[in-house]
Symmetry: C2
Subunit: 173 residues, 2 copies
DNA sequence: GACAATCAGGACTGCTTCGGTCCACTTAGC
DNA sequence: GCTAAGTGGACCGAAGCAGTCCTGATTGTC
């Protein structure tokens, strides 16, 4: 299906929101944001935001600060984060098939499997394609001007949190 | 993630097998093969082969002939079939997210969704990457000679060896 | 020092999707 | 007419994912 998980979509929203609140000139500097705060401003359920941020933190895309007045902040600028990094942080290594992503233990027949390596050129092509696109590209990509409401930061969804009670997320689906 | 379905993997095996049995000079000409025959020679369960071939036939990658002495044969040469066509035939349109693949009805919040169009550059990049790789590339790609044993099929790693008669793999030729 | 706010890590559950199978029907050659 | 083969659809079990919840650790504030 070639479909990425919803969490990856959420991660993009969260990261763009993180950058949007900080402003490009403050990226990585100030404006630590909490996961409840991001959840409120994006409409994504709070536990889900926390889950995404934990994964992003583990991959070094954001830094976390525990305790009171803690929170998360971007580690790099949006134009320094290829979408491949986000996908890898949430979904793991980018590979179309289980038996070619480098984990030798997943396929017990790997030693004999003639398909081994066959998907490699496809995987490589996709990996390089995803490495060429950054979050900054996605931030400005193909969003009709009508949807760029001036009342919000560029990154935040134009949806008021109340408009997303459940189910219909600002992202895919 | 970013994983494609097993059926797509099977489809590649079946198509390569179809071409392999025909030989490059006979592509699209002779050697109509039945789905039971392909199942026997690849080790993929027969109903699954039939399912894959049905999809491929519907997409025009293979032509079918009904009735006794019927079967399937390749419609194009392997080097004329981009892997994107195979994926599209089995899994549908290539898109990372549900709401950007052109089906406007899938996301009820689409009209307000700021993510609309955001994944477009990513989708385009992947689509073009998959269009540049043909089945012929996969047929010869990166398979160490040591692994070119005729004893195993590719996409059915979990199958017991007994289900894999002999001399089945087209890649071994 | 107590308390509150926040992240960290894991376990759990319901749902959706996928892989695989089966059946009845149609088509076509012998 | 019989047989072999594709066509179309429905069905079921398994696996993975989305989302939630709980407990513990950390840190700033009063």
């Amino acid at each position: 299906m070639l479909r990425l998980s919803k969490l990856t979509d959420y991660a993009v929203v969260v990261l763009v929101r993180l950058a949007g609140a900080q402003g490009p000139h403050l990226a990585g500097q100030a404006s630590v944001q909490t996961s409840p705060g991001i959840a409120a401003s994006t409409g994504i359920p709070e536990p889900t935001v926390a889950k995404v941020l934990k994964s992003l933190s583990g991959s070094g895309l954001v830094t976390s600060q525990r305790g009171a007045r803690g929170g998360y902040r971007l580690q790099r600028r949006l134009d320094e984060i290829p979408i491949a990094d986000v996908i890898a942080a949430i979904d793991g290594p980018i590979a179309l098939t289980a038996c070619v992503d480098g984990s030798a233990s997943e396929c017990e027949a790997q030693a004999l499997c003639p398909m081994r390596g066959r998907w490699d050129p496809v995987n490589d092509a996709i990996r390089s394609a995803l490495n060429r696109i950054t979050l900054a590209d996605m931030q400005v990509a193909a969003i009709p001007p009508a949807f760029r409401t001036p009342t919000r930061t560029t990154a935040a969804p134009a949806l008021p949190p109340a408009a997303l009670p459940s189910g219909n997320m600002p992202a895919a689906e």
